[in-house]
Amino acid sequence: MPHTSPPLALRVRNLRKAYKDVVAVDGLELEVRVGECFGLLGPNGAGKTTTIEICEGLTAADSGDVELLGMRWKSHAAALRQRLGIQLQETQLGDKLTVLETIRLFRSFFHRGPAAAEVLALVQLEEKSHARVGTLSGGQKQRLALACALVGDPEFLFLDEPTTGLDPQARRQLWDLIEQFKLAGRTILLTTHYMDEAERLCDRVAIMDHGKVISLGTPRELISSIGVEHVVEFSAGGGARVLEVPPLRALEGVRDVRTENGNVLMQVTALHRAVPALLEELDRQSLPLTELRTHSASLEDVFVTLTGRHLRDE
């Protein structure tokens, strides 16, 4: 193991993987430190799942090197499997088994780990222990999938889009659970296309696009790297008159202006100066303000700034 500081749980070097006609992962470099929660953030098709599945030893890379817990898949597959917790995207566990039976099945594969009942308690599914998996809600199924990843008391947890498709309440519940694992000191690598999830859970985030890491750092660092603190979104006018955009760029505290679906988005560095200046400008153009929203710059804005696209462009 390299004696870098802090120690690394995962090191990925120059990883490449192409499917028939698309390059899914294109020379990816990644380092995950022991005990951190690391997020791979990117839109669908960015190569997140391929990357995580190569790290999990489920997909073979075309080239490149993966070193996980100081081991490699070629030489230490059996030992690695015992020490990893894996949750895959879109796994449907067997509908006919009960929750407890499912956990006991997964538990039987590991040499060590908590008893099935303890894992159930951890993911708050005790009441459902004798319910058939087929009768669970989406959030409960996802918590069960998480339980199956925890039965071996893993040092390293892989979570591939853990909250995709869940309602807001179920997502928050799952976030609370993942935060507990962070407190427990486990190393976590998760993929997501939700910027709020990455901001809330991840110590560091790699933004991925087209199989490459295009930006890396803590969520704070990434957001401040675009030099924007807030985003002001507004619409003005009623149809008769058209808003002139260029004068907006010259306003004090405004860094960039884009229009999107009839709305105007201004990236601003100083909200308290930009908003009065905007109102004055609209007044000058004699346009009424119909809508105004502001939010602190987010990872979404980072992605938009870097790629010109949204994370969830469908």
């Binding site: 499997r81 099945l105 039987s108 908590p114 008391d153 000191g185």
Partner: protein, 363 residues
């Protein structure tokens, strides 16, 4: 590596106990239980494997049961003829008016109408394309001639054969047993494997430390456990309700069933080794099984097919299985006597199993 292994969280402060080594927590036991549960909790599978063969055996057994020799209904219009015909026990004679008798003949209520002809002759009216009509004609004529004084120069007696083992139900039960062993082995392997692959459950299992051979071994174990129930239900039903003979050795019959099931299990594994959807699997399974249902002698003897096809039919696993089961149950054949059939079943296993392992996809 201490820096890595130091990442220990609260859940394993209570989990330091060594791995529980109870029998139930062995991965093979858990995987086998998973298979059995998946099967038991699927009402349709239970129906097709347990109920359907019994319904089929019961229904066909009733339809083709050996009835006591049938008494044929005939009609006549003359009292003299009636009294002559009464002497034949296999005829049920009715004396009717001419129009009523003709009506009865036309509507098939009687098989034959005996009428007095000119000069003391007798006229038989019947449909000679109908076997009942021809039989009635022979019986009626014999009775009339004997009543008129015919003497039979050769005396004869009848000895009736109605022995278990030569009835249709006796032929059918081993056939259904073979068909059931094929269907349950192929379906239970095929659907479970393809469903797990489709759900990406198989991929998830591969992401655990589960030893891969265990996954397939568990199918073997659950199949053998199910086999005990399947075979005893069907054979028990045949033996107790229809008195189907069990002339061969029971342990040898059990062995034949196991070999049959393993052979079809291998075929099922091969069928499901790559398929991604239930629909495709279902089509493929029917494609493989349907021809065997027809040509392998489940419901009627495979010998009825042309001689040129016999080598092909004999090489099919279901033909071999059914021939061996019939030989054991009906003729009391030993294993040595069914060795050609065992060789065919073993050959299919040796062909399919390694090929299935080579082709098998875990995702």
């Amino acid at each position: 590596m201490s820096d890595v292994t130091a990442t220990i969280g609260p859940i394993d402060t209570t989990a330091k106990s060594p791995r529980q080594t109870t029998f139930a927590d062995h991965p093979l036991v858990q995987l086998t239980l998973t298979n059995l549960r998946g099967f038991w909790r699927e009402p349709e599978a239970l129906f097709w494997v347990f109920i359907f063969p019994i319904l089929l055996a019961g229904g066909l057994g009733l339809a083709f049961r050996n009835r006591p020799a049938e008494v044929l209904k005939i009609a006549t219009v003359s009292p003299q003829l009636e009294s002559a015909l009464r002497n034949e026990k296999l005829l049920d004679v009715k004396q009717l008016s001419v129009p009523a008798a003709e009506e009865a003949l036309r509507t098939g209520k009687v098989a034959l109408l005996a009428m007095p002809g000119p000069d003391g002759t007798v006229v038989y009216r019947y449909d000679n394309t109908n076997p009942e009509g021809r039989t009635a004609r022979m019986l009626a004529d014999g009775a009339v001639e004997r009543a008129a004084g015919r003497a039979d120069p050769v005396a004869s007696t009848d000895r009736l054969m109605r022995e278990p083992g030569s009835r249709y139900i006796d032929f059918l039960v081993p056939g259904l047993l073979g068909m059931n062993l094929m269907g349950s082995a192929i379906w239970s392997m095929g659907f479970a494997i393809v469903d797990a692959r489709r759900r990406k459950l198989m991929k998830r299992l591969v992401a655990t430390p589960m030893p891969k051979p265990y996954y397939l071994l568990a199918f073997l174990f659950s199949r053998l456990l199910m086999l005990v129930i399947e075979v005893s239900v069907l054979v028990g039903f045949g033996a107790f309700i229809f008195k189907v003979p069990m002339r061969g050795s029971l342990p040898e019959l059990a062995l034949l069933c196991i070999v049959t099931s393993l052979s079809f299990g291998s075929l099922g594994l091969l069928i499901s080794s790559r398929v991604q959807t239930i629909e495709a699997a279902s089509g493929l399974m029917n494609l493989v099984m349907m021809p065997m249902w027809i040509v392998s002698g489940v419901f009627f003897s495979a010998q009825r097919f042309p001689d040129a096809l016999q080598p092909v039919i004999k090489a099919l696993p279901l033909t071999a299985a059914i021939d061996a089961l019939r030989a054991n149950m009906l003729q009391g054949a030993s294993l040595a006597q069914v060795s050609p059939e065992l060789a065919v079943l073993g050959g299919w296993m040796l062909l399919c199993f390694p090929l299935a392992l080579r082709l098998f996809r875990w995702r």
